[in-house]
Symmetry: C2
Subunit: 307 residues, 2 copies
């Protein structure tokens, strides 16, 4: 049975039991543009106990630098770039280290600036993505658009993620590249994207369009719950690799965050500030339950200092 964290003793014991704290961001640290209560204090307290913290997010529209800016806007200034691990960064690392794509090959991007920034930081050239060339024509799409015939023979890989500026031209261009048999990488496959209390189209739903159109599935998925993301984190943190039970994955989604932690051998803490409810947790089978759950991340601080 999952243990609900409701007392000072539980909160103190939880923090002292782990060396590594992995956090999902949206639904845990913030909800869209609103910082959740007592989060800043909780993070500072955990860091003061000489613990390692790592932010693990599937949102590929932002780069690690964008995340640091977002933390900064909330007044949280003590985060290092190396403590942020997003699916756009994970994808870029995958393409460089696992796919070993030469740096003189281009990458076709169906997605936003976060993906482009991380790829460029590793020395790759991207095409597609947020290039306005594919935006203006896409709005008034016609099948005679000459861009459809301008296939870059130097593209060596296709990377797809959440794409707010999606259009028919970009989707059809992506299809042309996938039909050449190029490696097909997905940042993540979340079906939905929570924003302002609504569920909008997620990266996985966009990727499903081009997957269905080409009868292909992604060759690699770099976001939670896929373990390629965990393997990269463990590669940077050998102590976590050897002793996964010294790590705690904190998140708001059972099918991504909790599965990600559990599959990686870590303990898990579900917070109820995102899309899951206490009722959902109670209805789970024993083997599906997180190790712990709490109303919110900030309870760890509130229980220790405010009760």
């Amino acid at each position: 049975m999952s243990v609900k964290i409701t007392t000072k003793e539980q909160a103190e014991k939880l923090i002292s039991s782990y060396d590594y704290f992995l956090f999902d961001c949206d639904g845990v640290i913030w909800l869209g543009d609103h910082l959740l209560p007592s989060v800043s204090e909780t993070l500072t307290y955990i860091k003061e106990q000489n613990k390692n913290i790592i932010f693990v997010t599937n949102n590929s529209t932002k780069s690690r630098d964008d995340y640091l800016s977002k933390f900064g806007k909330f007044g949280i200034k003590n985060i290092a770039k190396s403590e942020v691990f997003g699916s756009s960064y994970a994808s870029a690392i995958y393409i460089e280290k696992i796919l070993k794509l030469p740096k003189d090959k281009n990458i076709w991007v169906l997605g936003e600036e976060g993906i482009e920034k991380e790829l460029k930081e590793l020395g790759y050239t991207t095409i597609g993505g947020t290039d306005p060339k594919y935006m203006e024509n896409g709005v008034k799409f016609d099948a005679n658009d000459p861009l459809l015939s301008q296939i870059d023979e130097n593209v060596g890989c296709v990377l797809c993620g959440l794409c707010f500026q999606i259009n028919y031209l970009k989707l059809s261009m992506t299809m042309q590249y996938l039909n050449k048999g190029l490696p097909f990488i997905a940042t993540n496959i979340d079906s939905t994207f929570p924003a302002n209390g609504k569920l909008l189209i997620g990266a996985g739903s966009i990727i499903e369009t081009v997957a269905y159109a080409t009868s292909r599935q992604p060759d690699a998925i770099c976001g939670k719950p896929n373990q390629s993301m965990m393997n990269s984190i463990k590669a940077d943190n050998p102590n976590l690799k050897d002793k996964p039970k010294r790590g705690l994955m904190i998140g708001d989604r059972l099918n991504t965050d909790m599965k990600f932690g559990k599959d990686g051998g870590l303990d898990t803490l579900l917070v109820l500030t995102g899309i899951e409810t206490e009722e959902n947790v109670k209805n789970l089978n024993n083997d599906e339950q997180p190790t712990y759950y709490a109303n919110k991340l900030g309870d760890l601080y509130d229980l220790i200092f405010l009760e």
Copy 2:
């Protein structure tokens, strides 16, 4: 074994053997904006033999009136509106006759003008679709777009088809309506859309996005090879209903046109002017083969008059 039509005798016998000729359009009558050779003469000859002709197309971006205009541009003026059966018309008929949606209910459309025109002709009001309101905001999408909260409580059904002006806002709006549990109708589920010798994104691939995002599948699919389209055609042609073997389905796709004809009990003729090749036909199992195949539809005329 499928019989290839290569002689005058075969062509004459084929035409005399059937009372109803059902034609797919793209890949059979025309390729995009190019009329295929000897098609006009073939259609005129078949009509002169007092045969019934019906055009059956999955392309929902055009209404029946749009199709008549397109035939007219090619100089083919002897087609009646009742001889055209498109997936947008089939969907409108389905919503009126099968779903029995009251006329004072609105319909949310993810698709193009062809769908809107057919629904309006039956007296329905559409929202979404080609309304520029959802286009201008979609280009510069942000999660705070007030349109996302303007859900029309009077919408009674969601109709999705091929959508060239697709964007993140329209997809996310469609998701909001589908998550209300409203009937989910698809014009057709072709994964690809052939244009100018390329395969672009088909209606089915777009519908897959919102299906994946909402964990729903369409409640009804109104295009080929689904038999709801055939049933509507047979309802208009009782002789075809009683004697399906008096009908011949002519098309360029095995998995839509040929399956549509065969499942409806009709004989089938595959033409090689679209996406299938002679090699494909020869590699099929016996039970998958069309009754006949020919290099092109116009061969029926050429073999009779030009050999």
